[in-house]
């Protein structure tokens, strides 16, 4: 996936939307900016498949040598898939956070959260602000 084509949450998760039988399915991961800010990843906690999440709710945690951070769901819906191999292959997050580094898939039940997401340019701007 190209980072330019994704949507982003303020908390640096990315979202890739597809349609399956009229329902939106969101693939969710964390941006290269987030991976870079964390560095030295040691642990990823994944949620159960089938769990319902609301936009802004923590669905897992990611830990680096330095600190632990929550992962926030960018949208509301049901978790329909998790990247089971990822916790044992955290290097994939550094190599390509937008491909093999995906974390969960959400069947979107409420599209209201979509307008809270930003495009790539807006996210880039946010990253620059946070870095300053």
């Amino acid at each position: 996936m190209k980072p330019e084509e994704l949507l982003y949450a303020k908390t640096h998760e990315w979202v890739y939307l597809t349609e399956e039988a009229g329902t939106k399915v969101a693939t969710v991961g964390i941006s290269a900016f987030a991976v870079e800010a964390l560095t030295d990843l040691v642990y990823l906690d994944l949620p159960e498949v089938g769990r319902s999440v609301t936009a802004g709710e923590s669905f897992g945690e990611i830990e680096s040598v330095k600190a632990v951070s929550d992962l926030y769901s960018p949208l509301t819906g049901e978790i329909v898939a998790v990247n089971k191999e990822l916790p044992d292959a955290l290097e994939r997050l550094s190599e390509d956070p937008y491909g093999p580094g995906w974390i969960i898939k959400i069947k979107v039940s409420d599209e209201a959260g979509l307008d809270q997401l930003m495009d790539h340019a807006a996210h880039q701007k946010l990253c620059e602000e946070e870095q300053a």
Binding site: T39, D40, V42, D45, E63, V65, K66, V68
Partner: protein, 381 residues
Amino acid sequence: MTSELARTRLYQWHVDHGARMVEFGGWKMPVQYTSIVEEHVATRQAIGLFDISHMGRLRFDGAAAGRFLDSLVTRRVDDLKTGRIRYALMTNDEGGVLDDVLVYHLVDGHLNEDGGSFHLMVVNASNRLKIVDWIGRHITDDVQCTDQTLDTAMIAVQGPRALELTAAVIGFDPSQLKYYRGQIVPVPLNGGGTSGGRVQAVVSRTGYTGEDGCELIVPADQAESLWQQLVDRGGAMGALPAGLGARDTLRLEAAMPLYGHEIDETISPLQAGLDFAVDLENRQFPGRDALARIQDGPALPRRVGLECSGRRVPRDGYAITRDGEQVGVVTSGGFSPTLQKPIAMGYVAPAASDVGTQLSIDVRGRGEPARVVKLPFYQRG
């Protein structure tokens, strides 16, 4: 607040070289340049270069300086021969730790062996002003204390090749010094040119990483040149500049206490397992009588090391439990790059402190199995 933070002479270098800067003890310091693990491994396998100019450096002059310092710390330092360094604690009247310090007794560089000497005390950045104040309240007329922190810089060169690099850069081989010894050495001036100018530096065989190495104190205006030379010459030897992040994981593996975590004003050095630095016999210092009472009193929670079998990392403040009952609290935790597992230090009830005891650490609501292990976690071969 940010504008009030002190900056070391290397601040701009750190920023220019991509360091992430954080607040620490009133200073703006680099926490990491590239990755904590990379900097940690470089220090264990080759060399780590640390700007530790934030540490407080207090100089004591006067014939009574040794006796004066002796009257404030937990072990004898009035018998410290020149060229020697000793770890000690300053305690309050209740026996709680005000700071952990290094006391140096050095021959003044300009004088010969029979001539003048002075004492130097290196204190934690976060405690410097408190200690200066504490000293001011106790100092006698025949001792002069000068806070040299802002006039000097301090660089730690740590790792198996640290002494070799230092020798190449300053023209003095620190391996001539035994462990915990130090001396003043004339070091070639920045860009020395043909003038051959030299500047006095304190070189000591000390550190806070569990590796061999040394620490250098130079006049502040020499800091950048010395640092750059260490970086340039060290590059081919595997040296990396390392931030406070790696300094913390290194000292944790070496089980060295960090002020504000394993020790503070409510913890006695005896509880912290620092008995080796406490001498109560025929001595007087603030907290001495309290420590004597603590020594003879009921057993208090003890500092232990914990190794986790899972991957979630214990952090400062997490509860340590056994069979659902809290028996202690974590004071420092982290992922050990050397052991490749989470480790922690903390205080636990004496009954739960034996090596091999199986405990649990409450990591954000979920218990992670942890076993009491012998400290340190890492000891160089």
